[in-house]
Amino acid sequence: MPELGPYAGEVLSAYAVAFGLLGALVIVSLWKSARVRRALDEIEARREPRRNG
């Protein structure tokens, strides 16, 4: 850990805020992607027998 001196709180909190927001954005993007993909797979699987039949 580098010596951050009297501004350690400011520097560390800036990094914590940025990583927190970026992490949340990545997690939400991946979660929404998985949820939509699952729903699409389900509906396409339901339609498949109808199309073949």
Binding site: P2, E3, L4, G5, P6, Y7, A8, E10, V11, S13, A14, Y15, V17, A18, L21, L22, A24, L25, V26, V28, S29, L30, K32, S33, V36, R37, A39, L40, I43, E44, R46, R47
Partner: protein, 230 residues
């Protein structure tokens, strides 16, 4: 979709690599500034996020114009997918700027031209996302959000050039410049450029993921409507 699924893992890996190199280099291996002390380490987050906030709006403007002129659905879905990323980047720039400003200026916030323009840009991002969420008809939502994007572009330009328009306010000039004399010192510049590349690649990665999600969601909506009609 096939092209994006082929390039996505590579862009994601490059984004993680360049972010790791840029931020670790900047945080652990650069000296303190003689005036700003260790707060200069905030630059590796603040400048890339602020740059991306403006550039993402510019990208949304281009894709929205493509929608308006050519009615190309993927282009407007890319703009919709980019908005939450842009809003997050703007929020990071505002938050890290406030945290940096407090010890340097003695204030978390000042109604400085650049700061104010950035706050308005953030509100435009929120408005853009709210408008998409408020309108059920996707084509009408695309039309109205494209117009909003056009209006908001004025503030994106002001955010970038406010410091040149009004020679006042607390915010310093650009940290990166093509003019070597105006640039920050090499010791800070090198990791900063790598962080900038990392933020850019992270944006491309998230944009690909989110645009693919929007395309799938559009297909899902169409299939559900078809099912309902029997």
């Amino acid at each position: 979709m096939r092209t994006s699924s082929a390039i996505l893992p590579w862009v994601a890996r490059l984004a993680i690599l360049s972010l790791a190199v840029g931020l670790i280099w900047g945080f652990f291996f650069t000296p303190d500034d003689y005036r700003q002390g260790s707060t200069v380490k905030i630059i590796y987050l603040h400048v890339p996020s602020a740059t991306m906030a403006i550039n993402i709006w510019a990208m949304m403007l281009v894709t929205s114009l493509i929608w308006v002129v050519r009615r190309h659905h993927v282009s407007v879905l890319a703009a919709k997918a980019a908005a939450p990323i842009g809003a997050t980047m703007t929020l990071i720039a505002l938050a890290t700027g406030a945290i940096w400003g407090q010890p340097m200026w003695g204030s978390w916030w000042e109604w400085d031209p650049r700061l104010t323009a950035f706050l308005i840009l953030f509100l435009f991002y929120l408005g853009y996302m709210a408008l998409w969420a408020a309108i059920d008809n996707p084509d009408a939502a695309a039309d109205l959000t494209s117009i909003l994007c056009l209006v908001g572009s004025v503030f994106a330009v002001i955010s970038r050039y406010a410091i040149n328009f009004w020679n006042q306010g607390l915010h310093q000039g650009a940290s990166l410049s093509l003019d070597a004399e105006e640039n920050i010192s090499d010791v800070f510049w090198q990791p900063l450029v790598i962080s900038l590349v990392g933020f850019g690649l992270l944006f491309v990665t998230l944009l690909l993921i989110r645009t693919r999600t929007e395309i799938r969601a559009r297909r899902l909506m169409a299939l559900k409507q078809r099912e309902r009609l029997g």
